[in-house]
């Protein structure tokens, strides 16, 4: 009979046994016999019909995935070991409410700048965006959210798994476009200047109303191309 070694936390389901002798000509049959003998094990080892993603089966110290998987032949003197994979880590999260408040302020101030024909308001927004990119803690509009709007219950947090870096890049990108707009406005190229301001308003509105972050898209494309500094790829679900 083939022996299957049982991980410590599963021994309550095998009557405390650290090893169970099973019959079967293959790894799959041996595991089926194990769960037939100890039915409570099944829920811990299987997710539906498949082994759970973190469950590895080793035949005499070799991962059966590198052999013939569940069809791998087993002999009477073989030992199978159930070894978990484990991974984890801190959660990368972004509060999308903070981003939306930031975008709303950017749009409002830039529209106001256009209506009042105020170069200084554009300079103000550019400064806020670039400072917030360089030192996120000094992000003025996000500060209004975290110190005023959220504590007052006016805006509810929407914390979801996400990478903060692409959003930071997107804001920096917007800030740089505004710098170009300021240069154009100061040089008298009024139409070009307000057109560039318009680009920032449209991109911020796309993000605010449709949830599409153009800067993040660019960031992830640069990540895909392996550009240094763009280290984060989109978050994956699961293992």
């Amino acid at each position: 009979m083939t022996t299957i070694r049982i991980p410590t936390p599963l021994r309550p389901y095998t009557g405390g046994n650290g090893a169970v002798d099973v019959s079967g000509a293959t790894v799959g049959e041996a595991l089926a016999d194990l769960t037939r003998l100890h039915p409570q094990l099944r829920a811990h080892l299987y997710d539906g019909e498949a082994l759970r993603s973190f469950v590895n089966v080793y035949l005499n110290k070799e991962d059966v995935r590198g052999l013939q998987g569940s069809d791998t032949a087993v002999n009477a003197d073989d030992t199978l070991m159930i070894i978990p994979s484990i991974a984890g880590g801190v959660e990368r999260v972004v509060d999308h409410s903070a981003l939306k408040v930031n975008q709303a302020f950017i749009i409002a101030f830039l529209l106001l700048a256009f209506v009042l024909n105020s170069l200084w308001l554009v300079v103000f927004v550019a400064a806020v965006m670039l400072l917030g990119t360089a030192v996120p803690a000094l992000s003025l509009f996000k500060g209004v959210y975290s110190r005023v709007l959220r504590p007052a219950g006016l805006v509810k947090p929407a914390v979801t798994p996400d990478n903060p870096e692409p959003h930071r890049f997107a804001q920096g990108f917007g800030g740089v476009v505004l710098l170009a707009a300021i240069a154009a406005l100061a040089a008298g190229a009024t139409a070009l200047g307000w057109a560039l301001v318009g680009v920032v308003v449209v991109l911020a509105a796309l993000n605010l109303f449709l949830g599409f972050c153009a800067g993040c898209f660019v960031y992830y494309q640069l990540n895909k191309l392996g550009v240094p500094g763009f280290t984060h790829s989109p978050l994956q679900q699961g293992g």
Binding site: L10, F54, G88, H232, G238
Partner: protein, 142 residues
């Protein structure tokens, strides 16, 4: 309850600090005593998360390393009773990602906070049997 014996908390904290800014990880070896988990030895293991730049936020233990430690433990009459890892610049609280990628319920999941390279508080967690989340378990040192 998780009991850390033989000053292994020193080993665990040192490994977390040495791994900074990356997450450090390893296995706890010991035994179960009157319903408590007693960790008698700590085995630091490489963090084999495949993307180097993500190691400050992620860890993975190679199952081949786990197997080797499991066999080593069995040779001296011990068992793998838990997993430890560090959270650089984050609180030692099990995250949704830790839940998603945990192994079996029944292991102690010890997390050590490391701030700017200095190891701080450790807290331990048990995965609920239905894998819906972690509950904290007390930690004591003896």
């Amino acid at each position: 309850m998780l009991i850390l014996a033989n000053d292994i908390h020193v080993t665990i904290r040192a490994h977390g600090a040495a791994s900074y800014p990356n997450e450090g990880c390893g296995l706890l070896l010991g035994e179960t005593r009157d319903g408590d988990t007693v960790a008698l030895a700590a085995r630091p293991l490489p963090n084999v998360w495949p993307v180097e730049a993500e190691k400050p936020e992620r860890f993975r233990i190679d199952p081949a390393d786990w197997l080797a430690v499991e066999l080593e433990a069995a040779d001296v009459g011990l068992e793998v009773v838990g997993v430890f890892h560090s959270h650089p610049d984050h609180p030692p609280v099990a995250s949704p990602r830790d839940v998603a990628w945990a192994a079996f319920a029944g292991y102690s999941y010890l997390i050590t906070q490391v701030v700017a390279g200095t190891a701080g508080l450790s807290r331990s967690w048990q995965l609920l049997p239905d894998r819906s989340g972690f509950v904290e378990e007390p930690v004591s040192e003896e």
